[in-house]
Amino acid sequence: MAIDQKLADDLKSQGVHVTSFEQLINWGRSSSLWPLQFGLACCAIEMIAATMAKYDMARFGAEVFRPSPRQADLMIVAGTVTKKMAPQVVRLYNQMAEPKYVLAMGACAISGGPFKEGYNVLKGVDRYIPVDIVVPGCPPRPEALLDGLIALQKKVKGEKLIGKDRVRHADPNGMAEMPVPEYGPHDLQPPMNPEVWKPKAKIRKEGEA
């Protein structure tokens, strides 16, 4: 951090690698993001394809899909989150150990997608858990998922672990668990977590009521 980049490069050419703990930790974390193994709908098929030989997610260190949330770093929400499934998704998120990241894959996980006008699909998983990366598509191609993974790796590499602007999981007061919604008579209770999501304001055009 305090090291001049030019000096670091000079030293590197002499065979001396200079780094900081922050860079080292972030490099380690970004290079071994272990996703949680679960799929909710057709996006999961593309996620599976991304791990197989043709697209080979292992090139980015993220091939180790863990069947337990305790061992996973990355939750790929691959598919439609129905209101019946939403409490279980939030519970899985809560069971993951820090640091943890969420990638919303596909139109349904992002906003409800084609089911947005319906009664039984959550209008975006970001209503209950904080989403780091969104990968649009219906479903997104494996290349798009890999692009989202690389974007997440860049994000992880830029994380501040100390100081005022440190990331949530490095902050002792950071919120690690999200309240799990209950099944209500007409809808989930509460219908959203105001800590992580607020309804989007309408952007008005000139002269529009």
Binding site: H186, D187, K202, R204
Partner: protein, 213 residues
């Protein structure tokens, strides 16, 4: 097609007179006539169709909501039913609003070895509330179990004699029946840019213009 129905109809009238079976003709291009039976004797009718006529495959069970006359009119206005559509409905010999106010269940049956079908059997409940009861056909066709649960979940038809009548898609605490025409979805509306009139109207309610208040 009508051959199958007539054949089945004769034996049902003989074996299950309580079913009060009638044939509803469909003048549309499909020409798919159907057999209308009383709700409390659906299971007996199915037993005859299965055992004596060999219809061994129940491919589909589905529900239809025919709302009360006042509500039906409201729904028609929402759907902007033009004169043509109304005329068609009447030409079908189908329901006029005065007859409505019940739930209907439709069964599609096939005879797999003789490749006959579909035989369409329909039944209507007395009303949309307490009397929304139909005899379960699970004892004849095991495949009806989940489909009847789904109809119970989404339309609120009680299938008497069903071994395990619970909700299947919505959670157990849910009280509504979402496929009914008078169902009101929870208001978790979120603005999205669209030219759809109903959505624009809803957006105006949720996001009033800054100088409105």
């Amino acid at each position: 097609m009508s051959g199958i129905i007539d054949m089945v109809l004769a034996s049902i009238r003989a074996k299950v007179p309580a079913a009060n079976a009638t044939v509803r003709t469909n003048p549309g291009p499909s020409g798919q006539d159907s057999l209308m039976v009383a709700p409390e004797s659906v299971a007996d009718v199915m037993r005859v169709i299965h055992d004596e006529h060999g219809f061994d495959f129940l491919s589909n069970v589905t529900g239809v909501d025919w709302p009360d006359p006042a509500l039906a009119e409201k729904v028609a206005v929402i759907a902007e039913g033009d004169a043509d559509a109304e005329g068609d409905a009447k030409a079908d010999g189908e329901e006029t609003p005065a007859e409505c106010g019940f739930l209907e269940v439709v069964y599609h049956l096939y005879h797999t070895s003789e490749r006959k079908g579909p035989l369409v059997v329909r039944s209507r409940t007395k009303d949309r509330g307490e009397g929304a009861k139909i005899a379960s056909v699970v004892s004849v066709y095991k495949s009806a179990e989940f489909q009847e649960r789904e109809i119970y979940d989404l339309y609120g038809v009680i299938f008497t004699g069903h071994p395990d009548l619970r909700r299947i898609l919505m959670w157990d605490e849910f009280v509504d029946h979402p496929m009914r025409k008078d169902y009101v979805a929870p208001d978790d509306y979120e603005y999205e840019p669209t030219p759809h009139a109903a959505v624009i109207e809803k957006a105006a309610q949720h996001y009033p213009a800054p100088d409105a208040d």
